[in-house]
Amino acid sequence: MFWDPKIEKLSREKLEKLQLERLKKTLQYVFSRSPFYKKRFTEKKFRPSMVKSLDGLARVPFTYIDDLRKNYPYGLLAVDKSETVRLHTSSGTTGKPKAIFFTRDDIGRGADLIARCLVMTGVTKKDVLQNMMSYGLFTGGLVMHYGAEKVGALVIPAGIGNTDRQLMLMQDFGTTSIHITPSYALYIADVFEKKGLDPRKELKLKRAYMGAEPHSEETRRKIESAFGIDVYNSYGLSEMNGPGVAFECQYKDGMHLWEDHFIMEIIDPVTGRQLPPGQEGELVLTTLCRVGMPILRYRTKDITRIITAPCRCGRTHRRIARITGRSDDMFIIKGVNIFPQQIERVLMGIKGVARNYLIQLESYDELIVKVEIQKRSFDGSVDHMAGLKAEIEGKLRAELLVRPKIELHEPGSLPVSEGKAKRVIDNRKL
């Protein structure tokens, strides 16, 4: 199913021509309208006329997360404040948030991209979509909401938390689709289990859109089998509209990134150089259609790669692979780079391990992985528990090349968050 078949199946040649056209226009536009880019271009001795082909994009200066913070709140705005109709912010761990402004047309375009995403995974106006993301300053709520309304689905703006009410809404209104974070989906699966209910029988659920947190293929499969549904991976960030930047199609093999709205590059996060297609590195995005607040060559810090092979679904927009980490949530133990997702991938593949875990960093060489055991696989045997511990240690060591210390914990004893789960606790004083 296609929302906008003409653009979704546009030939690569035409798509790239369209990208270049829009890029040139955006460069001229921000140079004349955005105080931040006018200054940045001048400092870096860059002129929009220097870009004559898509390869020329590499000459455009990067925009960093810090640029958004330092120029908070209006520095990157390219229109008069009266033209903006919505503000979203993205929180940082330190200092000021990032302020993102939308004009009325920007909101319409964001909704259009969500509509493409939903329709390609089978949503129609007959569907009921329960949006279990936080409404408010976070984009996950409203941006998805507008897109789902555009498709004509019934949208339940449930927001996050209040799990009993979520379950009631799902049962009473026959929710077919949910938009949810992976940690909350796992939490809800646990709630069903505790109540002794089978969500596959209790709900009419067909699909879930999962975003906002990195997760592994194993986590996806766990959620798919717990609910008996299809889970589609979604990628977005507030700076680029929020959800809808890249989404999986029915084949669930990488996320189509809408290249008529964004140009993607993969770069080496250290040198800033573009990497050849297919290689893993930091994703850099440039908006092509934004009017209120265009952003050029934005350093997302998300680590992924471009899948260049054409997709069976017929869309020409290339896919990005699952995000394997953030260039800044990577940690180093005994000189080895480790991403939390590597640990999650291993844990979720081991039988007898529950869904909750915690990574604790104690010193330069001490990595503690706290794992909850699964209630129903406990058979009373101390030997089996010791074996489980050894299996976790062995498999993690093989993956990470560092020997972690494993702690087995009682079911339900590790902290669960109903929003973005905090999985890494760094107690090191470095």
Binding site: I373, K375, F378, G380, S381, M385, K389, E407, L408, G412
Partner: protein, 132 residues
Amino acid sequence: MKTVRQLSIFAENKVGKIETLTKVFADNKINILAFNITSMGDFGVIKFVLDKPEEASKLLKKDGHAVSVKDILAIEMNDRPGGMYEVAKILGQNSVNIENAYVLVPKARDKALLLVEVTKINEALKALEGKI
């Protein structure tokens, strides 16, 4: 020869765990007949023989504990030298491995029951039948 139900509970090695479990028993008037702890450092398994095992298991599961119920042997020991040897010999000859063992002293206090957790309980029962 008879068997008794044993509850095994997974426990992190932390202060207050036994207190939490035994409070459930006390509050529900469940009597502890015997218990045993196997510690593996940061975690362990606590085993209880109780007068109301099914009820206790249900209550503990409701509270979120990992609980497993299993039948184990309860062997009346002869109170004389060689009593335990006889039991161990028979089980060994029948390739039944003893995984864990502890003792229950019934109310009368004149004899003791040896509680034995084995791999193959049916074979053990058959082997011991009429001999102990």
